[in-house]
Symmetry: D2
Subunit: 342 residues, 4 copies
């Protein structure tokens, strides 16, 4: 309350909170009174207490998410994708081309991914592009290519879905559905994914707080799908030397607030091939449950994000670093999928 709040102002706040089914606790000091509220926070938000006479400020303490919160579910969760775990006991490498271009390029990239130790394949068939004049992906044809490559290599795959409408179709092909950073608050899409029965990879929005990211996961969980993996992929800052700024702290912070697995995308975070290995190592020892990395057999002709894709020379280094640091963290590299996938 403001320093000049009257007793009647205080009484009015208490009465309003109680009329809304909440409890209000008044703390009186020498120069200031603080009122603590307990009850349905959303309900309180609607009361516009901040606008009442004598009120100086309103500060929200509790969280806007429950199902994904660690408060009610202290043990960290693992999510299985086509039989492959992503969770606290493993470090799972997901790799593949940013965009599916041709069957040959996709198969070659999948073989590269396997050489680097990947047990899951990534690849985009529907590409969200900032400019309408950029390559938009092959669409369903790309999904069929990914399914063929899965049959050939045994790698389950994750691919992006752009719109609520597409969810069922994409889910018929994919082992895991990805929500891109620009769609993190596309609530229609999140709700559709709550009903889909396949795990979801939820990328953090470019300027989303960790709390907002967890509330986006809650949208999916609330509709019945708790198989959500969070993916930190860099946030937008004033720095221009990198495409985005990898928020490495987001890994331990999100894991302390939520039981969901948290992985890192070092390729989109930095946007530069020379940063992928250092950021991958940093992610693993910060506690990430996995990595998602761009690889391309020939980055110089890639239709999307070539400058950040690893090439063949980098793969052995990544595989070795991953093996050593996974061991250092007391975790294991997951076994490849052995059951029939799809």
């Amino acid at each position: 309350m403001a320093s000049d709040a009257k007793p009647s102002d205080i009484q009015a706040v208490v009465a309003l909170v109680e009329s809304a089914g909440g409890e209000a606790f008044v703390s009186r000091g020498i120069s200031r009174v603080i009122i603590g509220l307990v009850g349905d926070v959303e309900q309180f938000a609607r009361l516009n207490i901040r606008g009442m006479r004598g009120v100086r400020d309103v500060t929200r303490i509790s969280a806007g998410y429950k199902l994904v919160s660690r408060e009610h579910h202290p043990a960290r969760s693992a999510v299985r994708v086509g039989g492959v775990p992503i969770g606290p006991d493993t470090v799972t490498l997901i790799a593949g081309p940013c965009a599916v271009e041709t069957p040959d390029q996709t198969l070659a990239a999948a073989r590269m991914a396997q050489r680097a130790g990947a047990v899951l394949l990534r690849g985009g068939a529907f590409k969200p592009r900032t400019s309408p004049y950029a390559f938009q992906g092959l669409g369903e044809r790309g999904l069929r290519i990914l399914a063929d490559v899965r049959a050939e290599t045994g790698l389950p795959f994750v691919t992006e879905v752009l719109d609520a409408d597409q969810v069922d179709m994409v889910a018929q092909y994919a082992d895991m559905l990805q929500v891109g950073a620009r769609n993190m608050q596309n609530f229609a899409l999140l709700q559709a994914l709550g009903a889909v029965g396949k795990p979801v990879l939820l990328k953090r929005g470019l300027s989303a707080t960790i709390e907002e990211w967890l509330m986006a996961a809650e949208y999916i969980a609330q509709r019945g799908n708790l198989d959500v993996v969070l993916c930190e992929r860099g946030i937008r800052t004033f720095e221009t030397a990198t495409r985005n700024t990898l928020d490495i702290s987001a890994v331990p912070v999100a894991q302390s607030l939520s039981h969901l697995p948290v992985i890192v995308d070092p390729s989109h975070s930095g946007g530069r091939r020379d940063l992928v290995l250092p950021l991958s190592r940093a992610a693993v020892v910060a506690g990430a449950d996995g990595l998602v990395v761009d690889v391309h057999p020939e980055p110089s002709v890639a239709l999307c994000d070539g400058p950040q894709a690893l090439i063949a020379d980098d793969l052995a280094v990544l595989a070795r670093d991953l093996r050593d640091l996974t061991g250092f963290m007391g975790r294991q590299l997951p076994e490849p999928a052995t059951v029939p996938v799809g």
Copy 2:
């Protein structure tokens, strides 16, 4: 090129650019060589020139948008919504409740809006909410309420659409469709709006650059709808005293780059009722083509964003300021719609 680039490195870049149908111009200085490229920029982006030997950096000069650019369309455009213009000769006030709650509340808010000088009504039937536990709007029932209030008051209305799937349905009711900040890069939605035949109000994303905002508008334009109005509504920064930071410079900057009208939302920018009037005045004299303002007959019980809604006492001041500053800018307040709307 790097200072140690070899002639063969330079030749390789030139050859690659030319093979892609572009032109490469080599500028040689004492310690450095610069190569200028002219041609299809998207094509160049795929070449991964940055990864070539001897290349130090690649800087993009030209824009990823054309139809909305002022370069090819120097005169600023006006968009008509239910007969009401938004453009360079007028300052158009759009006002209404953040969320449609009941017929009475909506009608009362519309009457308030008219007292403040509004010629268009705003109101949300589908509400994008960060937390899944917050009020999500009345849906199609809300649209019917808005249509009834339009019939009663003569105010054409703008309302938000959340998903590509909803576009046709919402367009049957609304005079203008709004894309919210969180959906600015929901490309499926943007493309659906390109085919809808109603004007679009495109809010700037929370961390979108002005260039990305214009590329989002280009998505709509490219599918055939040039009736797009840009709305600056505050960006995300480190400052916590305001909900967002109104980027007032975005008004003249966007107008210098694009022929589309640019309006300002002072309510969401600041998130505080006490800032709405100063920010509204600032927007008008910075050259904004209109304002969109939250009003609510009883903000203390509003289901959404009560703290930022204007109340009855503010309206006369807003109306007077708007009239005076519109005159100062050599513009006019638009006439209310007189033709049957809908």
Copy 3:
């Protein structure tokens, strides 16, 4: 407190706070306990309550500034610079060259400033430059030029001081001392300015919150100098179309928290000449108590920030806009200094 906090945890917090001379008020709800603290906040900050068992989070409510706060000094203050007021009843234009280069250039710029309606001259003799290879200013010779131009034109002047050591020397010449954005938290400099007996123009840091800005002003006030004018000059964001992002909301927000005058620098905010007029108009109607604007007789040869300087053609427009909008705001343009200055 965390949901699993024990009564002994709560008791420990209360005991610690009381041992530090504070008061602790316990609010018990169904699932959560909140403890409100009243007393010396800095003292509390040292207690590390956040690290105690059972504590979930600690939120600070009260401010780290007092003397500049409006809470204890509700009326807004005016500061006089060489007889010219900057405060709530006036809109004071300060103009001049970014850097003092020659006597002729400085006098010409001062005459330009007067034509635009300026009653105070600005000009840099000591220039803080990001690169050590940029022009660093004329030093004390520049101060003498400014003093000569003051004698010639009657314009009191404000100039930047870079280091605590320089304060007394600069104060012998200048009517007002400026703290640049990069020095906003140079605490040795702020303390030296507290004892100087001349008014201070305190620019907001590039990424300073409004609260930090007010705490910087408090440093000066605490050492005995309450004649501080706050200057908003744009903050750092991800946007690259402008040099900085003018935080126009900072004007009414800072004025609501502090009794000190608040002015705006539209030249450094945008960094572009074409934005100076729109941002100047916006600042005045948002409630700014003044403007500080770059002018240069020949920007194309300016040694500093030429691209943002107004030229002769702009001055009449600025003078007219300023006169009209000052009247609109119910304020006056201040009279030029008539008393001998210096």
Copy 4:
């Protein structure tokens, strides 16, 4: 150049650049002309080419630093502090209390630091505090305590210097002088450090780009002191769960641009004790040449930044992780100083 630039406009730019001693290379495309400039970039910046007729935009390619650049000095440098190296072959741990409070607390913290493997001591005698009501440090008395603890433990020490005036005095006691984030662009201080003859630890500013950080280092180098160590300590973003956002990518990026050593401060980056270990590990494998970590024998009574200080239990884990990951990176932990220090 703009698409409607005339040949005379192009000629005017070329003539101006040449008159300033530079070279201008004209690249002509179908719809656009690009002019590349080679010469003294600062000189070009003064020409205000952007304001000339027909010019669309000016983009700067080359860097504002030379002595610290890797372009002219490809091998990475090591800096020796009291005999202890910080450079590419080692991972150097610097630890100690945020603020020197008493001889006992400082000695206890130094012993803790040694148990964690530290070979250099850190401790603040002069504290830059955002609020003037916070503890400001013991001043020269604190320096004497640090010198006594050095004599007792053999640990050379680094301590912050706030003002150009203090540099010589602090250098009489300290082995390395620290520039805090808020002073990164206090150019008077940087210049004074250029002449001091002791190594400098330069923290990155809260919103400084990597390029600005390197230009600040250049200020010191230009005055004759090349013994500069860069320290990444978190940047300011919109995220509020952490005090700052550790920009882990800044380590490899700064190392690719500059030959100077780069270390990381995981304590101030996160501002939370629970993040210090994960961020320390991440820093080492991202390639950091060292760490600077807060430790305190009793954080709950620390006068400064208690919530982020490591306690005794954490030390063994830090020592083990550091040893293992230093080995993994093919580096060594440096030997403690054996020569008489001071």
